[in-house]
């Protein structure tokens, strides 16, 4: 089985300096990867469900940052490394390859941080950036609300100006690490009069410690925690928490989502994309015996695996094609807008398939001593719905693609 990761053509073109750096990262990982903590570590930042896991990840992120492998392209004066992006990309690649634990402060690293660097005031940069990198200040995101998850234009949470403060009322849902977070990027309605509902939204960097903000943990279908519902009851936050201007919230939120979607553009690094999951699936097929031979020899299984590998390669190559304008002139934005739908649905089906390879053992779950890989796949499959539902469900994504790429009418 060819599971070793070959060099990409980008890697083959690396300069000596970059090669040296890569070797340094590999060496660092070898000496610093933490030992198995004895509990199942999260695959994404949305699965931080206990203090134990939180402490572990916080310590790890601090170690990565203090060793110079996080925030490498962020400005030096705010805790970053002030280096070209390529170095962060290489560090990320090698960390992914070695499957080290995740750098969990994703909303800070991937959303709030890049936004503050690009558009924030000096005060905001000074106040927020370093804590994001060290892991001391956990960030959460307050966009979605109960009853209209994918439709941000319908946001009901109110922020009313009262002197030097805003008074917030309403609630947010799916707040990842809401119970641990120090700050929230909050989208709230400052004007309900304007005709276009998007113009009435404003964007805040809100302190979660303010009086009147409470969180209630949500138990996920996996049985774990990781999200909260967040309630605002006459919560007062300083007016200086407003980012940009009143009424510009929608635009800032969209810019923030671009960081998430573009992943590499401004993010501090450490984002877990789980690029090695197909190798894990193939390993199960190698390890599991059926009829006295590895399942990997079974023609039906092989055909299914090849189908997944074709799909994986298409996902990977799409990232290459999207950079060639002449090959994207037909149905413009098609690849860019379908990235999430293609990727998340692929992982969902692939993880579901991984369970079928386990035979009777697929009935076992996290906590059972006989569960394959500690129940990793059972949990991964169910957790995957956070990606096919969160950030706009697959069905909403299909609407967006249908309407914006194909020009189909709205329903």
């Amino acid at each position: 089985m060819t599971t070793n990761n070959p060099l990409s053509e980008d890697q083959q073109l690396e300069t000596a300096e970059v090669k040296d750096f890569r070797n340094g990262v590999v060496d660092w990982i070898k000496h610093n990867t933490p030992a198995d903590p004895g509990f199942l570590l999260p695959q994404t930042f949305m699965e931080v469900g206990s203090e134990q896991v939180l402490d572990f990840l916080r310590e790890w992120q601090y170690k990565v940052w203090s060793s110079g492998y996080l925030g490498m392209a962020w400005p030096k004066e705010y805790g970053g490394g002030g280096m070209p992006r390529i170095f962060q990309q290489i560090a990320d690649e090698e960390m992914k390859r070695a499957r080290v634990p995740i750098c969990f402060n994703i909303i800070g690293l991937g959303w709030a941080g890049p936004l503050i660097i690009d558009t924030g005031t000096d005060f905001e940069k000074e106040t927020y950036l370093k804590g994001i990198l060290t892991g001391e200040d956990i960030w959460c995101q307050g966009f979605s609300e109960p009853n209209h998850g994918s439709d941000l234009g319908s946001i009901q949470t109110r922020a009313e100006r009262d002197g030097d403060e805003y008074v917030i009322n309403g609630s947010k849902i799916w707040t990842t690490m809401g119970n641990y977070a120090k700050y929230m990027i909050l989208l709230a309605r400052t004007d309900s009069q304007v005709e276009r509902r998007y113009n009435g939204l404003s964007f805040f960097l809100a302190p979660m410690g303010a009086d009147g903000i409470t969180t209630s943990p949500i138990q996920k279908l996996t049985g774990d925690y990781g999200f909260t519902e967040t309630f605002f009851t006459d919560a007062r936050i300083p007016a200086s928490c407003l980012m940009g201007e009143e009424g510009h919230g929608w635009r800032i939120a969209m810019q923030t989502l671009q960081y998430e979607r573009g992943a590499e553009a401004g993010a501090a690094g450490g984002v877990s994309i789980l690029a090695t999951v197909m190798d894990d699936l193939l390993r199960i097929a190698e390890d599991v015996q059926r009829d006295g031979q590895p399942l990997m020899k079974d023609p039906v299984t092989r055909d299914n695996l090849v189908k997944f590998l074709i799909e994986e390669q298409a996902l990977y190559l799409a990232e290459k094609r999207v950079k060639i304008p002449a090959l994207c002139a037909d149905y413009p934005n098609s690849l860019a807008l379908s990235t999430k739908l293609r990727g998340t649905e692929f992982f969902r089906r692939m993880r579901q398939y991984a369970l079928t390879l386990q035979g009777a053992s697929s009935a076992l779950y996290v906590g059972d001593e006989d569960a394959v890989e500690g129940g990793f796949w059972q949990r991964a499959y169910m957790n995957n719905f956070s990606t096919t539902i969160g950030g706009g469900t697959s069905q909403i994504q299909a609407n967006i693609i249908g309407e914006h790429v194909l020009g189909l009418p709205k329903d």
């Binding site: 090849v306 290459k320 098609s334 194909l406």
Partner: protein
């Protein structure tokens, strides 16, 4: 990660120009009326259009410069073939391009000197590979027997593309225990040797050809034809995949056009998610096919094809054939009662899908051959 070492994709300005002019040319020469006017015609193509393509130099794209071609490699033909598929423009281009590659890759210098300049000028060749319906067959029952200057072919070939308009054939035969490709000129065939078949895809032409009794001399054997055979099958798969990708986009265009104009229950039917979402799936599947054909076009060179190129070509064919099958099938369904009629263009695509599915191997055939490359 992924199992191909070389996952690059490049597209030169020259290729972009070919894509642009091919799209414009095919749109211009092959509107709905033009396509339908050729369905019942004998040759299946418009000679004037073919002559223009020759004049534009497209028949020489992948032929070396010393024979009058442009030496841009087989990858340069991908945008052209894709555009032809998009607009259902049929000519013997795919057959002729694969045949030219056979001579480029397997032919002797004198064979190349004789045929390649002529092919740049529009001479048409085609491969005669199949003994039966199995694209996975690893041997042939067609035999070449006799002594050097008195060799005789015995055997029939199935579904030879564009047989009745071809000037020559490259026939796969057994000779002295090895597979060889033999050049047979159409003038050498018996008068009743070509039996045209009724095809599901009425834009295509193919025939069973009986080569029994054709006598040739040993200089008609391609010296490296047998060795080039595996690569020629991959090139065939890539070109069929390219055409299929274009046709899948054509089917999608047709569906989108209907969904944005047809009203039922006072609503444009494209507003219904039961139609909208599968249409998006057509786009996504077509997009993946498109990604694969241009990846393969990037990797494919003039030399022997390596493992990554083989993976790319097989993935392209598997993906494109499935994408078109899905698009053609849904195109008929989404046109409702209209879709059940011969007048509806969905008919063209569902029929093209059946043709494409099998040419140079169906998706399962390619996945079966991908398995050892990816898993072992």
């Amino acid at each position: 990660m992924t199992r191909s070492a070389n996952l690059s994709m490049a597209f030169s300005d020259e290729q972009a120009m070919i894509l642009d002019s091919a799209q414009a040319f095919c749109r211009d020469k092959s509107d709905g009326d033009a396509v339908r006017s050729l369905l019942k015609s004998e040759t299946g193509f418009n000679q004037d259009v073919w002559d223009e393509m020759v004049a534009l130099g497209w028949t020489g794209l992948s032929i070396p410069e010393q024979f009058g071609g442009f030496a841009m490699g087989i990858g340069a033909t991908v945008p052209l073939v894709e555009s032809m598929g998009r607009h259902m423009l049929c000519t013997p281009y795919i057959s002729a391009t694969i045949a030219a590659q056979a001579i480029v890759r397997g032919g002797s210098e004198s064979q190349q000197t004789k045929w390649l300049p002529a092919m740049v000028q529009g001479t048409i060749g085609t491969l005669a590979l199949l003994d039966n319906e199995d694209w996975g067959a690893t041997s042939t029952s067609c035999v070449l027997t006799g002594k050097d200057d008195q060799l005789e072919l015995k055997g029939k070939k199935l579904l030879v593309h564009d047989a009745s308009v071809s000037d020559f054939f490259l026939v796969l035969a057994q000779h002295d225990g090895a597979e060889v490709l033999v050049i047979v000129e159409s003038s050498q065939l018996a008068s009743n040797a070509i039996a045209c078949k009724t095809l599901v895809d009425e834009t295509k032409r193919a025939a069973n050809v009986d080569f029994t009794g054709v006598t040739i001399q040993s200089d008609a054997i391609l010296p490296s034809g047998g060795a080039a055979l595996a690569d020629l099958r991959l090139i065939g798969a890539l070109l069929i995949a390219s055409e299929a990708t274009g046709s899948a986009a054509g089917a999608l265009d047709t569906v989108v056009d209907y969904l944005t104009t047809r009203k039922q229950f006072d609503r444009l039917i494209g507003s219904y998610q039961s139609l909208k979402h599968p249409t998006v799936e057509m786009l996504i599947q077509m997009d993946s096919a498109r990604t694969f054909i241009y990846h393969a076009a990037t990797l494919i060179g003039d030399g022997e094809l390596d493992k990554d190129t083989e993976i790319a070509c097989r993935m392209a064919k598997a993906q494109a054939a499935d994408a078109l099958s899905f698009a053609g099938d849904r195109a008929v369904q989404f046109h409702g009662g209209m879709g059940f009629t011969y007048d509806c263009d969905a008919m063209l695509y569902i029929r093209r899908a059946q043709w494409t599915q099998q040419q140079y191997g169906d998706p399962q055939h390619h996945r079966k051959l991908l398995a050892p490359l990816l898993l072992d």
